[in-house]
Symmetry: C2
Subunit: 231 residues, 2 copies
């Protein structure tokens, strides 16, 4: 046993040289990264705890040790991305309002604050980050009750602030109409990210030159026209 485990460890150190910073929470992060990827690719229920531990090259017990249960791991995976995303959105909203000095910002600026952080999170270093895209897109349609509640709480708190900002920018638009239009915009954003994450579900002409800024520009322009249109 002793020799066996020592041999295993040695082998690992050779094959995975990044173990230098093996100081703290290395396995925890490895689990989060791997779980995020597998959840995005195969779905929550279809991904077993063993799938994750094998892919992450950690022990089966590691998940229960670090997260307690599979459900807690799922929540950790989502929380790690959603909180920062929505905080960046609100930060951009704050900045837009600060820049416009008292006056309500342009609808386009508000939309960009909603959209840009999501799209940019989906393009890591210029290249598409399909994991993030799929995870975000699946956020809202996951049947998992705890996740649904988590998403709804986070999402509605952010959306309430945006709704107020839009209402100030478009005082003549009925509140009910505005809320529906924001739902349409959210859906358009999520679906665009999802579609972008699957190369081959894009119509041929869209496959080339798929960049973050292009998508943001298109969606902002489209949504601005829809939002500003008179009922």
């Amino acid at each position: 046993m002793k020799t066996n485990s020592k041999q295993n460890r040695f082998a690992k150190t050779i094959t995975t040289p990044e173990n230098a910073e093996h100081t703290l929470a290395a396995t925890k992060e490895k689990i989060l990264d791997t779980a995020e990827r597998l959840f995005a690719e195969r779905g929550l229920e279809a991904t077993s705890i063993r799938d994750i531990t094998v892919a992450a090259e950690v022990n089966l017990g590691a998940i229960n040790y670090h997260f307690g249960t599979k459900q807690k791991l799922i929540e950790a995976v989502f929380n790690r991305r959603i909180e920062p995303l929505n905080q960046r959105r609100l930060a951009m909203l704050d900045e837009a309002e600060r820049k416009s000095r008292g006056k309500p910002p342009a609808v386009e600026a508000l939309l960009e604050a909603m959209i840009r952080p999501a799209v940019e999170g989906s393009f890591a270093a210029g290249k598409r980050n399909t994991t993030f895209m799929r995870l975000m897109a699946r956020c809202h349609s996951e049947p998992n009750p705890e996740i649904e509640h988590l998403i709804r709480t986070q999402f509605q708190a952010m959306m309430a602030r945006f709704a107020a900002a839009f209402a100030r920018a478009l005082p003549e638009l009925p509140r009910e109409e505005l809320l529906w239009r924001l739902i349409f915009v959210s859906g358009g954003l999520l679906h665009a990210l999802l579609i972008s994450s699957k190369e081959d579900s894009l119509p041929g002409s869209l496959r080339k030159r798929l960049d973050a800024d292009g998508l943001i520009q298109r969606l902002v322009a489209f949504a601005a026209a829809g939002i500003k249109s008179s009922a």
Copy 2:
């Protein structure tokens, strides 16, 4: 034997009065209905074959007998709804083009052909049909590879015809831009359906008076403004 079966029939007729049309494939339909509901509520992987047979009050073996495997049942559930939906869309598209006699139909008419069949399938007899809503909304984000392929095939075939119609109505709009805008519209529709299916994720002011025609009108107006906006 004859008397026996007649007695059984009679007993069944008493407890479940809709058994009048008990002529053929009664259990098959019961399985499809129940599976559709449970898949929509809990997701594909989270719903076991036993969950379905218990809820449908049929024998465990019934699914394997009538459908072969769980995967085949899943495909049957989706196919039963998607094909008729897309056929109605294309029929409305045909009618719009027929009515406009040579000229391209108004963008609003094209959008309504895309949107109305989906929304109306989601409102059975005036009331919300949350099962259908959730199933449709989950269509595009299901990780199941076979389902993904099924959806993509059906959806792209229909979308190609709509894209051509829109291109005729808006000849000055670049094709790439048009395709993206149609993706945005699809996303808005799907997300609106999903949101509508969860009562408590609707902002308070939207919960009342949620009707099919209202939603269609709002989405068509929003999408028409977005689609027609000059790049």
